[in-house]
């Protein structure tokens, strides 16, 4: 890794607002974010390149070009459900598909040619160029190629230096956030005619519009006259993203990985920020109140907080009424929550609002603050906080009925299904949106569909014969 990249990584790993980093000893801080949990033969999770893609690829009108051999894109593209309300260029996969010859002679020429072709063909507002391990190892200078391409081709080409081998997905998220700070945010002023900056402009940081969940959030903003300047980066348009520094408030969702983006924006442009969530009524109310207060403090309509309270009351009443029929069917069911980070507690809160009992939640990748919140929600019962749970144990919990349902990411989906137990996707690959009041109703409906599906008793039913195939005495008799 270049000296500059090394310095950037070290800085990111000492993020003063990151509770994870603060909780570490100096020695652990020096080891960085990537060290924990990486045991050869027992590691799970994506690499830094994966993380960088998660954070930047939702810029829907940009062209995302992966410089590397085929594995990095060919095995991975088209695997997330970050939604768009317009352009679809971000969904196309672009790679230099490096060959053995490029490994021997260097891949910079190939990258230059690829940029030229891609820009001529698609005329994107910008290109994000992702570095990967092999060109990183042979020393391809993507920063220089991007600089040259930006000058000669007239389209911003932005280097994303997060090759997989420098660390985890989380580090890749952070590096991508730094790319936004260094190359994108603040590089354009809003058009005074078409897109004027206003007193209620806000950004949502680390909101990736998974399954199109922004559609459940922006109507709430609309009702209060709050304007989403941009999400970082769900459904984002490059030129709008460049004007993100004109927001009056930033909210960081579900990710300590992008705290540094909010902090830098506060330092540089004086934008206050807070951490929030849209999962569950309590969290939505908390977030809307924060927005209203912080905007009003900066000169927005002073009635905004009162209007927010009225909206919250109205929507909570309507939501409770809509939830009632589902809750009658799912109340008291036992859920195993196997996710991590912020969702360790925010989803617990949503599930409890729906009347479920959370028997355990995994606090992997969660901070001390996250753990504290989870513990508070779980009646201070330490036994209900889990770290990593091995697959055989997850299987046992579900098979033996300690939990009625597991909510997790796709990786552990089949642990539940092999135990013939209900499962719901709670991570980024999911197809349903659980954010906002309408999202909570969706979550209730999905839980009901899963918990009460007739396929589970059918799949669990014993065959009318024994292990050797001999008919059991009470079966097989003519009726």
């Amino acid at each position: 890794m270049s000296g500059a990249l090394k310095r950037r990584v070290t800085q990111l790993q000492n993020e003063p607002t990151c509770p994870t980093s603060l909780a570490k000893s100096d020695a652990d801080k020096r080891k960085g974010c990537a060290v924990r949990g990486l045991t050869p033969g027992a590691a799970a999770g994506g690499c830094a390149f994966d993380g960088a893609m998660i954070t930047l690829q939702p810029v829907v009108d940009a062209l995302h070009l992966i410089h590397g051999p085929i594995a990095c894109l060919g095995n991975s593209w088209d695997n997330r459900h970050s939604g768009t309300t317009g352009p679809t260029l971000y969904r196309r996969g672009f790679t230099t598909d490096m060959s053995e010859l490029d490994v021997i002679h260097g891949g910079e020429k190939r990258l230059w040619k690829a940029l030229k072709q891609a820009i001529a063909r698609h005329q994107p507002p910008a290109v994000f160029v992702y570095q990967t391990c092999v060109p990183g190892l042979i020393g391809d200078d993507i920063v220089a190629v991007c600089k040259e391409a930006t000058e000669r081709l007239g389209t911003p080409c932005i280097p994303v230096e997060a090759p997989g081998f420098i660390g985890s997905k989380n580090l890749g998220n952070k590096l991508a956030g730094q790319v936004l700070l260094d190359h994108v945010i603040g590089t354009r002023e809003p058009d005074p005619e078409l897109d004027p900056a206003g007193p209620t402009d806000v950004n949502l940081i680390a909101e990736y519009n998974v399954a199109g969940e922004l559609a459940h959030v922006t109507p709430l903003f609309d009702a209060l006259g709050i304007k989403l300047r941009t999400a970082l980066t769900g459904d984002a348009r490059f030129h709008r993203l460049q004007t993100a520094h004109h927001a009056k408030v930033n909210m960081v969702l579900c990710s300590h990985a992008l705290f540094h983006v909010a902090r830098h924006m506060e330092q540089r442009w004086g934008i206050p920020w807070f951490e929030g969530s849209f999962y569950g009524m309590a969290a939505i109310g908390h977030s809307l109140r924060h927005f209203a207060r912080l905007l009003a403090e900066q000169g927005a309509d002073p009635t905004l907080p009162a209007r927010a309270e009225a909206l919250i009351a109205e929507r909570e009443a309507a939501t409770k009424a809509a939830l009632a029929p589902y809750m009658a069917r799912i109340r008291g069911k036992k859920a195993l929550l196997y996710t991590g980070g912020h969702k360790s507690w925010s989803v617990v809160s949503a599930l409890q609002e729906l009347g479920l009992e959370v028997i355990r939640t995994s606090v992997r990748k969660a901070t001390e603050t996250d753990k504290g919140r989870a513990l508070e929600l779980l009646d201070d019962d330490e036994d209900r906080l889990a770290g990593a749970i091995p697959n055989p144990e997850l299987y046992r919990i579900l098979k033996e009925g300690e939990a009625d349902i597991m909510l997790s990411g796709g990786r552990s989906q089949f642990v539940a299904l092999k135990a013939a137990a209900p499962w719901l996707d709670i991570n980024q690959e999911r197809h349903h949106t659980y954010a906002g009041y309408d999202g909570l109703i969706t979550l209730a409906r999905e839980l009901d569909k899963a918990l009460n599906s007739p396929v589970f008793p059918a799949a669990r039913a014993a065959a009318p014969w024994d292990d050797d195939g001999n008919l059991l005495p009470e079966m097989g008799e003519p009726a």
Binding site: P40, G41, C47, D50, W77, S99, W112, Q117
Partner: protein, 445 residues
């Protein structure tokens, strides 16, 4: 957006083009991992950064809808500089103690291959130094750098490595009732079951290598499987040379079959394609000859049904334009099938070269789904259908054409592993599917 014309890609090699758009290709390490999953009690181990494994895991889980045991040596920048042998040894020992596999299939990646790691030598040393600890666990090493070839190449190298590193010379007599089937990556679990049934119809016992029908066929096992819950047993590969014959199913299985023939004298036959009437005839005739038995009445009836279906189908398939994109052996099978129904090939695209491309009469482009899209737009005659893996949905959407999914991955379908395309019954199923698709989407005729 307006699409500007691009230079037409060279059929000689994929690397004439600097930019791949909507890739068709996947990495050889992924192909090798899939093949390893066809061995009993196995776990693939990718020697590279953790992302190589994470991406491979996700794509396999999405296709099979099954838990997939696969691990990583978790190389970091530092270990890449210092050398990965320690990570490799630690990963092997961790897997041994945590999962107790019978086989660990180790695949190199771009990262470790670029650094020049000597995988074979490292594995040999680890196996020797840790012989006691690793008792009962076989290490198989496969060289699969990401920048050389694609999925089919990785699969082919993995099966060759299985033969090379496991199969023993055969001093004893040959068992004429036993046949070895080396199954290519274009065959589904359903295909393998069909082939085994066909062999049994002639009284032949088939050893399939690798056997995804026994490991990733999607069944509910009685307990949680830590490694593959089935697949080819190592001892059956050790004694594979004692079979009466070895059939290479797909041209990319030929090197492995030839290696077995050279080592054990087991006669090798190559059946490049098993889809279509003529191709099924060749398969059935081969089994009849090897077994010395007549063709059973039920197969003769299946053949008559297929002939009848071809007649029923031709009204709907004749002169339809079809663009096909697939790994070489699958491409040969699909192009052969649609041509036999009177359809036209608008475009035939392979992600990389492969011996099976010699079997295809239509011009083949080495390229990606972006090329396929361009070729359909530029074609003088209308195109009615795209056949490809699930990523084909991108050109299909852009062009407003239906997509028939074939091969790996099919992440937006369930049951892909049970799709049967071989023999009379499998061919008939695909013909019916195609004809019905055209009944629903007749196009502009």
């Amino acid at each position: 957006m307006t699409a500007l014309p691009r230079k037409s890609p060279s059929a000689k090699g994929s690397h004439a083009k600097a930019l791949s758009e909507n890739p068709l290709k996947m990495s050889p390490a992924l192909g090798a991992s899939l093949a390893i999953l066809g061995l009993e009690g196995s776990v693939p181990l990718l020697h590279g950064a953790q992302g190589c494994t994470a991406f491979g895991l996700v794509i396999m889980v999405r296709h099979f809808k099954e838990p997939i045991p696969i691990q990583t040596t978790a190389m970091s920048e530092l270990t890449t500089i210092l050398g990965g042998a320690d990570n490799l040894e630690q990963a092997v020992l961790t897997l041994k103690s945590k999962l107790g596999p019978k086989v660990i299939g180790v695949c190199s990646t771009g990262l470790t291959a670029t650094r020049g790691e000597d995988l074979a030598a490292d594995l040999k040393r680890i196996a020797a130094e840790q012989a006691e600890t690793l008792d009962g666990t076989r290490l198989i090493g496969i060289d699969t750098p990401d920048y050389a070839g694609g999925l089919e190449d990785g699969w082919s190298r993995a099966v060759t490595a299985m033969i090379d590193q496991v199969a023993r010379p055969n001093p004893g007599p040959r068992d004429p009732k036993r046949i070895a089937l080396l199954a290519g990556c274009h065959l589904s679990a359903g295909d393998i079951d069909e082939l085994r049934d066909l062999a049994e119809a002639f009284g032949l016992e088939a050893t399939v290598v690798p056997d995804l029908a026994d490991s990733l066929d999607g069944h509910l096992p009685p307990a949680w499987p830590k490694t593959t819950p089935g697949g080819t047993r190592l001892q059956d590969i050790e004694t594979l040379g004692a079979a009466g014959a070895v059939l290479a199913l797909g041209r990319h299985m030929e090197p492995a079959a030839r290696l077995l023939e050279d080592r054990t004298g087991c006669p090798a036959l190559v059946l490049p394609n098993l889809t279509g009437l003529t191709e099924s005839d060749r398969l059935v005739a081969t089994l009849a000859r090897l077994s010395g038995r007549p063709v059973p009445a039920r197969l003769r009836r299946q053949r008559d049904r297929l002939r009848d279906t071809l007649l029923d189908a031709h009204f709907h398939t004749g002169d339809k334009g079809i663009a096909v994109a697939a790994e070489p052996d699958l491409l040969a099978a699909l192009v052969g099938l649609v041509e036999s129904l009177g359809a036209r090939i608008t475009a035939a695209v392979a992600p990389q070269s492969g011996p099976a491309l010699e079997e295809i009469k239509a011009p083949v482009t080495i390229g990606d789904l972006g090329d396929l899209e361009d070729m359909v737009r530029a074609a003088p005659e209308p195109c009615h259908l795209i056949i490809s893996h699930s990523h084909g949905r991108h050109p299909a959407q852009a062009l407003g054409l239906p997509l028939l999914r074939a091969g790996f991955p099919q992440f937006d379908r369930i049951g892909a592993q049970h799709q049967v395309s071989v023999g009379y019954r499998g061919t008939q199923a695909r013909v019916v599917e195609l004809a019905n698709l055209f009944i629903d989407h007749p196009g502009d005729h």
